[in-house]
Point group: C2
Chain length 393, copies 2
């Protein structure tokens, strides 16, 4: 019943927007537990379902929800049509369960819009050039929405989440955190990959590539959310837009590594072969022509990464290895940093004044990240939020 009520509420909201004169395409995910229930079914049958058949199965989740939403919109008396990913002409590559969108054939969408119909599209899915159903993996529905917005040059792609926008820091630990009115794609990308999981980085990347403006809004209210848009459209109000933190970090160091070409390459290729995403990498030249190489990973990957690192240590004759899982990453993000020297220095000073030791540093043009002790993460975010005056937007 919860699902049906939710669908009716979405239908009401969609028709209100339609009535206000908007041409609307809704991209929908599977309802609540649908995907988990389908996965449970497979587990009764096999532990290793072929990925092609997994896609065939999981794609039904979105198909059910678009049909039900179309029924709910129809029941309110509005013209509506639901379309699966293949029907929309979303062509993807062949990588089942995490396919990439290659192309969207807009013909059907334009035809239905011309009929003034509200279009309900199944997110997360497409089909490859062999006409096999594919799914897009994590963040797939957001990606579908952005891709369609790009193909049709929509004014805006609204993405509904359980928060009502992007904040200057996590409001659960910084009560004074402010909702940002506008943020650039690049800033959002840094924030997203830094643990502020409002949007999947993948959909933001695509939005950046095609110049799509995303409006991050809440499913629970009608508040204006946060616009994620091209930088050139924006006034830079603040040097730093937000402070992000990520507690799911682990750090591994290879110590006393011979300073020969190819060793870093061997290490990170081996990790990549195991599909372990490496985040920060620091190499420091030591005396006696030997280095330390440190890197961070998601804490869930620690055990697998250690196995790889031990092997590489033995192969290259490193002196030792160390790891820590009691670390966190705190970061400041802001497009204004490029033209404002001294932002990193301000960050380091603020942390020093709180007696927080910085273990690793990594910078890009629009962010600075520090690895610190996990237990000091909250204190660090509070200090940074204060020093960059993010409570006074």
């Amino acid at each position: 019943m919860a699902n049906a009520e939710r669908i009716k509420r979405i239908a009401k909201r969609v028709t209100e927007r339609h009535l206000a004169g908007n041409k609307i395409i809704v991209v929908l995910s599977a309802m609540g537990d649908t995907t988990d229930e389908l996965i449970k079914l497979t587990q009764q049958i096999t532990n290793r379902p072929p990925e092609r058949e997994m896609d065939m199965l999981l794609a039904t989740g979105e198909q059910v929800s678009i049909a039900l939403l179309a029924m709910a919109v129809d029941a309110l008396g509005y013209p509506v049509v639901s379309l699966t990913g293949p029907q929309v002409g979303i062509t993807t590559d062949d990588v089942h369960t995490k396919a990439k969108i290659l192309n969207i054939n807009e013909a059907r969408l334009r035809e239905e819009l011309a009929q003034n119909r509200i279009i309900i599209v199944a997110g997360f899915q497409g089909c490859n050039t062999h006409n096999d159903i594919t799914t897009l993996g994590r963040g797939g529905s957001d990606t579908t929405a952005v891709a369609i917005a790009a193909a049709l040059e929509a004014d805006v792609c609204e993405i509904y989440t359980d928060v009502d926008g992007v904040y200057t820091a996590d409001p659960r630990i910084i009560p004074e955190a402010q909702k940002l009115k506008i943020i650039s794609h690049d800033e959002m990308l840094e924030l997203a990959s830094l643990g502020a999981l409002v949007l999947q980085p993948r959909s933001v990347e695509m939005a950046k590539q095609y110049g799509v403006t995303i409006h991050v809004r809440s499913i629970f209210n009608n508040n204006e959310g946060t616009l994620v848009q091209e930088e050139k459209d924006m006034e830079k109000e603040k040097v730093v837009s937000g402070v992000a933190h990520d507690l799911k970090v682990a750090k591994i160091s290879l110590l006393d590594v011979p300073d020969r070409p190819g060793i870093a390459s061997k290490l990170f290729q081996s990790l990549a072969a195991e599909r372990i995403n490496v985040d920060m990498i620091i190499q420091s030249t030591m005396r006696n022509e030997r280095n330390d190489i440190s890197f961070t990973i998601c804490r869930d990957d620690l055990a697998r990464a250690l196995t790889v690192a031990e092997q590489v240590r033995d192969e290259v004759g490193a002196g030792g290895m160390a790891f820590g899982q009691d670390v966190a990453k705190v970061s400041i993000v802001g497009a204004g940093m490029i033209t404002n020297p001294g932002v990193a220095a301000t960050m380091f000073r603020a942390l020093a004044e709180e007696n927080i030791n910085i273990e690793m540093i990594s910078t890009s043009e629009i962010k600075v990240s520090c690895i610190i002790k996990a237990e000091e993460a909250v204190k660090a975010v509070q200090a940074l939020h204060r020093v960059f005056e993010l409570d006074r937007l």
Copy 2:
């Protein structure tokens, strides 16, 4: 869990057949309660779901089961691929929820067969020329199977049911009923439409049209079932192949109808406009240029049919109306009847010897049906089974 076990059992059976050197295409329905559960979901949203969206929704049921069966076959180590109706290239007309198959594009099927893959096809579904998903309605999966068998000129189309073949009469009331080894399409059609619901008439019609041999078998055992095939291939062993009965019958009579052209036409067009299927029709010329017109319908349609009949009675100035719902239809079916005069007479004599009064009679080239009192149906079937020696095949 019951569903998963059932799927695994089907997978095992399919792979055994594959191993024996058969090229196999499996057509699957939705699992157990799936369709009912999807319909329940719609009822929480609207009482009048658009039929197009109903098809979008219901088609997911088969898609789930083909993906799971493909996983189960894969887990046993055999090459397999699942395909939805649209992927198979099953083109239908536009009549959502009860579409008719127009064409099958065999290219994909032949390609997969050439790769020696076991193919699992979603029954009951296709897509129309606008690329919208359609479903085939009642008996849809059987129809899909026969259509594919016809397109690929398969040796045989096996249809698995909860009985292990076609019997000379309903074994629940005639313990001596014999399983038929062979029956013609025409005989099967008569039996199917006479209440022996082993196969849907629709799939048998298509099998007859394209000369497809159907093997009716049980899901519960490996027994040989009944072959339904072209008459020319058959030896006629018996004049009468089976006795069918249908207890869900109602009868309506318009009495004292003026003998003018167009009255029967008005009555039956009005019934057709209400989508009421009329089975037997009898018109008897009376004295004074007035007729009685009697017809039978499915008992479920009685209330609606009476409303129509009352209206026509008043319009045409009929003298009266009568109806009965305590009637049943018993029929004998046999391709051999055409060349054996006197079969009908034998039937009427057998009923008369049991003191069973015949209220209506209808004949075709290969069947004779009688409407009798419902309470005498079992006795009638027993008598007919005996007189035509169907217990001694």
